[in-house]
Symmetry: C2
Subunit: 380 residues, 2 copies
């Protein structure tokens, strides 16, 4: 498969073998990352960003790549994550296809891509890979760990496995455990890919790529990443110009359908379908309750109390958990739970619900609300 | 295609030709229905039920069919819709595949199934067919018109075209116009069917049936018909017995996935895929604002005010619009809008939001809440 690595991406070699949580190990694996700003002499000004499922490490323009990044308005000089003050690191998640080792990478044992032979990927594996990157950069403790969406899970996994690794934490539209609605959506996305005959049990090629499955998966993602409220105002019932429509009785007719189509076109063939499957399933599996101390696992303890007990093992000074009222994928009570759990661990922990209309993906676009929240926390 | 007509279904011939709103006409078309109870001498005790997209006319057991129906706990002697008092009629929507003429029916001009040659179906066509049924039964005015989900749209279409056709109206989880989130979901459902190679531009057979597309469409439907809140309590993160799992690395693993799978299996091959496409698209197209009087269409009039002005042309005595807090497909403000619009027409109109956890489909299962609401309205 074609790789999708932005210019200027840097790499760190992971220990080899790199043991995976659910068994097996990666040989000669690497993690892709980019940085902004300068690490100070005390190595105390590092901010690590763990992104969602699909982004690469290029959060914003930098010396290695002048193109705008996926969080361009958030990261940079005088921006909310001010790269004149902070040494900012962003990774491409382990298991992805944008530079880090994933299902599309060559398995050195066979000389062929891993495809479905990639080891079962868990959120924790990505967190361990990020921990190794910090070590290789000589960073013992982050000033702030930031995680968005899937990256919010990865951040919690990192904190649960390394309770002292960050002084502060911002969890954005995150979740301490996947709940059945989001599992159902991701299950359908994976099914759409797997049902595409071109997927061929993971043995697709550039010429025989599961384009329809990936289109469905992406559209279903976008439907759940945004919100009905946003779309009511943005699209209403507007139809697009009849002349632009294909001659197809059930083809797209409303603007919202064209919008989904556009998102799908910009995604397919730029993401490796097998990597998508592995990353998607890793989110289903993640459950902070797995880290509850023994005394919180007794009979009669409920799931939520185990999640809280697990989060209470993390040793942060300050935490901020931001959520959005219109998020149907990771609903607000999940960010509340994160804030409550981290507070129980002794952190000065705040829950910030924002009225953004853009749903789960608001942090990517509603910089007017997310920018000040992140800026104020970092400046405190 | 196999037809799916319950025993005991009755039929009324529609006028032939039966002109369709968007052009063309059906020849020799019929509407399937069932009845319960007796029409009184004054012909004043009729209650018509217009169902959602998928049900047949068999709402409950009756003389013609002793099997339980899809609204068994709601319709019957001493039940909320008390068939000892009311003469209850339920139709299978025009365009469906459970007895009424639809895309799977034989086109008498060709002797072959219509398939994609079926005329463009609109919600209004189904309403006109229901109006004809009432006429043929000698019913000039219904005591109460009840519409659920898509049937709520059909009921509004019937009232907008025949403002005096009912004395009272119960609209359940309905909508006066499709909004972009629900359009997007239905568009994805249709796309899943159309992408299935077995769909074959509508020329599938029983042997080559678009099973995967229909499975995806149904699962996506179920995800949006129910609610995350219900599933959190019902499934949580429970996995089903590993021994029951197929040997498939990305196959179902969580109970919620098995639940979706079960729903899909009970649906595919029992619904005609082309009928599904036509009915689904008719919902996207429905917009009560099309019926706004000229004076409400002036420049500067917004969409919502046109919807309200249209609904205000309906002449009901009483109306009840019921919605559910957890409905993501037809959100609560849409039922509020229906109640407001009908009130503007002079009806004693009430909006009843219910705290059912089951989302859009709550009316099918939360009889504890819906039963008394419907009973009390009918008894008033």
């Amino acid at each position: 498969m074609t790789e999708f690595i932005p210019p200027g991406t840097r790499f760190v070699d992971l220990p080899s073998p790199f043991a995976m949580r659910r068994g097996e190990a990666l040989i000669g694996a690497r993690l892709a990352f980019e940085t902004w700003g300068e690490l100070n002499a005390e190595r105390s000004n590092a901010v690590l960003i763990l992104p969602g499922l699909s982004p690469n490490a290029h959060a914003a323009r930098n010396a290695g790549n002048p193109e705008a990044g996926w969080w361009e308005d958030m990261v940079g000089p005088d921006k909310p994550i001010d790269t004149r003050r902070w040494f900012v690191i962003c990774v491409n998640p382990l298991g992805s296809c944008k530079g880090s080792t994933g299902a599309g990478s060559i398995d050195p044992r066979s000389g062929e891509p891993y495809r479905l032979g990639f080891p079962d990927l868990s959120i924790e594996d990505g967190a361990e890979a990020a921990a190794h990157l910090l070590k290789s950069l000589g960073i013992e403790r982050l000033d702030t760990l930031i995680g968005n969406s899937m990256g919010g899970m990865s951040a919690l996994a990192l904190l649960l496995q390394h309770p002292h690794i960050a002084r502060r934490h911002i969890n954005i539209s995150g979740s301490a455990r996947s709940l059945p609605f989001s599992i159902a959506i991701r299950s359908l996305q994976r099914e759409a890919i797997r049902l595409d005959q071109h997927w061929n049990e993971g043995r697709y090629t550039d010429q025989n790529y599961p384009e329809n499955g990936m289109r469905m998966a992406r559209k279903l993602g976008v439907v759940t990443y945004r919100s009905a409220m946003e779309w009511d105002g943005r699209f209403g019932r507007v139809k697009f110009d009849a002349e632009c429509r294909e001659d197809d009785p059930f083809g797209p007719e409303f603007e919202v359908e064209r919008y989904l189509e556009g998102h799908a076109r910009r995604f397919v063939r730029l993401f490796d379908p097998n990597s998508y499957l592995f990353l998607s399933r890793s989110m289903d599996w993640f459950d902070a309750a797995d880290y509850a101390p023994a005394e919180a696992r007794g009979e009669g303890s409920d799931e939520d109390s185990r999640v809280l007990a697990a989060l209470a093992t993390v040793r942060l000074e300050q935490a901020l958990s931001i959520g959005v009222h219109t998020d149907i994928l990771f609903p607000l009570q999940q960010q509340q739970q994160i804030a409550d759990g981290l507070r129980a661990g002794g952190a000065d922990s705040r829950f910030l619900p924002l009225p953004s209309p853009q749903g789960h993906d608001a942090f990517l676009v509603d910089i007017a609300r997310f920018g000040p929240a992140v800026h104020d926390f970092l400046s405190a």
